[in-house]
């Protein structure tokens, strides 16, 4: 009995030693366009994010042992692809800001750093104070909102064109994942509205009849098959009276619930159409992974950020 036990342990040990030889390469290329932020912000990023989201991955001895090492390599490659602080300045400025707000919200939601990572690297956890430093830093970047003549005239010009029916698109655009623009969105009912001071926009979130019925009947966990949202974004346009109205139309985004068809993105089909020309967003059909990555922390509410305003039954 004891002998059998000994042999089994020996076999396992040999296997363990053999798998150490299988080592995918993980290099640290030079950081050519690193993020430039104040020291107190930088130190938090380095401590909590850099292992997976920069070219300066700091492997501890226990990260180098297989099978853990395979997971580490996979996470780092994935992490660098999504967000890389060492290549930061290669991104357009507005995208940089949007990425930071998204990253902070992933942290606030507890989705980042990955719990599996902080379980082993406890020093990477962010304290309340760390989160506050990041919040204050981002808030300091928000431009104060004032009346702006050119914003106002751009809004008026677009409004005039729309009123004259000269913004009609000739054919229905289709996103690379096959989701077509839905012209009926503007007849849908309101789910909610939001003012986004992080990026100077305001939004109307509308729902198709299936979504509205589900809200009324309290059947939104999960949302039913066919429920569809349109999130319409406008530039903020502050009037001389201090009221901020919807300025230029920026884009409309759709979320379509179909558990089978969109199984790879948690049962939701995503599409975004930009400007009044409704230009489909995305360079490849895989663009929706970007959408679901951001929505992932909202698993509890079926990956939907918007809490609908309750309707009486």
């Amino acid at each position: 009995m004891k002998k059998k036990y000994f042999i089994a342990v020996l076999i396992l040990l040999v296997i363990f030693l053999c798998i150490q030889a299988i080592r995918p390469q993980l290099t640290n290329p030079p950081a050519t366009a690193e993020i430039v932020v104040p020291d107190n912000v930088k130190s938090i990023l380095v401590k909590s994010c850099y292992d997976c989201h920069s070219n300066q991955t700091n492997l501890r001895w226990y990260d180098e042992v297989n099978p853990a090492y395979w997971q580490v390599v996979k996470d780092v490659r994935e992490g660098r692809k999504v967000l890389n602080f060492s290549e930061w300045q290669k991104m357009p400025k507005p995208d940089q800001q949007a990425k930071l707000w998204e990253a902070l919200n992933q942290v606030v939601a507890g989705a980042m750093p990955l719990p599996s990572y902080t379980a082993v690297h406890s020093s990477a956890k962010l304290s309340e104070e760390d989160i506050n430093v990041l919040k204050q830093f981002l808030l300091s970047k928000v431009k104060p909102l004032n009346y702006n003549a050119s914003t106002d005239s751009a809004a008026s010009a677009q409004f005039t064109k729309w009123g004259a029916d000269s913004l009609k698109i000739k054919s229905v655009p289709v996103a690379l994942n096959g989701i077509a623009f839905i012209p009926e969105y503007k007849n849908w009912q309101v789910v909610s509205a939001s003012e986004r001071f992080d990026n100077g926009t305001m939004r109307l979130i509308l729902g198709n009849p299936i979504a509205i019925k589900a809200i009324r009947e309290h059947k939104i966990s999960p949302w039913p098959q066919g429920a569809t949202f349109a999130k319409v974004a406008f530039a903020q346009n502050k009037g001389k009276d201090g009221i901020v109205s919807s300025g230029e139309f920026k884009q409309v985004e759709f979320m379509i619930k179909d558990a089978d068809k969109y199984a790879s993105t948690k049962g939701w089909g995503f599409a975004r159409f930009k400007t009044t020309k409704m230009v489909p967003y995305g360079k490849t059909a895989m663009f929706a992974t970007e959408c679901i990555n951001c929505h992932r922390p909202e698993e509890k509410t079926d990956f939907v950020f918007t809490q609908p305003i309750k309707l009486n039954q």
């Binding site: 919200n105 729309w162 009912q189 309101v190 909610s192 509205a193 509205i212 939104i220 919807s246 309707l311």
Partner: protein, 160 residues
């Protein structure tokens, strides 16, 4: 050894259950912003025309209107016509717990309803304001005319 296995299984099962707690009603819905049945927007047949917010008053609003109003507010035509109906719903702003960087409707502050009747060239403007989460009729009539005019002179949000 057996005890340890049992203990580990228990911890594992518990941690899986902990992640799978269903969302509560308050997590799913924005209950604070509920509009009472007295004014059911969906059933009123009015459609959404625009959204705005007021940083000074810390409010966020959505304007609704019937077909006649919707058609006029798409253009710069300020001559309101009989048969138009508009409703401006205003909430206090609250921070969006799901997104640091956003504000969403909070407690309901008011519903203002403007209805036009009579003749087209000189329509009669009927204005009423319902206040607070229970939508109680406002008795104070000062400033009603200017508020009605403010609502009638709105522009629709561009939704191509």
């Amino acid at each position: 050894m057996k005890t340890l296995t049992k203990l580990l299984t228990a911890i594992l099962l518990f941690s899986l259950c902990a992640c799978k707690q269903p969302a509560t009603d308050n997590e799913l819905y924005n209950n604070k912003a509920t509009v009472p049945a007295k004014f059911d927007i969906v059933k009123s047949g009015l459609s959404v025309l625009n959204t705005s917010f007021n940083p000074t008053k810390n409010t966020i609003s959505i304007l609704y209107g019937n077909k006649l109003a919707a058609e006029r507010l798409r253009t710069a035509d300020h001559q309101a016509k009989q048969g138009e109906e508009l409703a401006l719903v205003t909430w206090k702003r609250q921070a969006d717990v799901h997104w640091f960087g956003a504000n969403i409707p909070g407690e309901l502050q008011s519903v203002e309803i403007v209805k036009l009747s009579g003749e087209n060239l000189k329509p009669k403007i009927d204005y009423q304001k319902l206040l607070g989460p229970n939508l109680e009729q406002e008795r104070d009539t000062t400033g009603q005319q200017s508020q009605a005019n403010f609502i009638l002179s709105q522009r629709a949000s561009v939704m191509p």
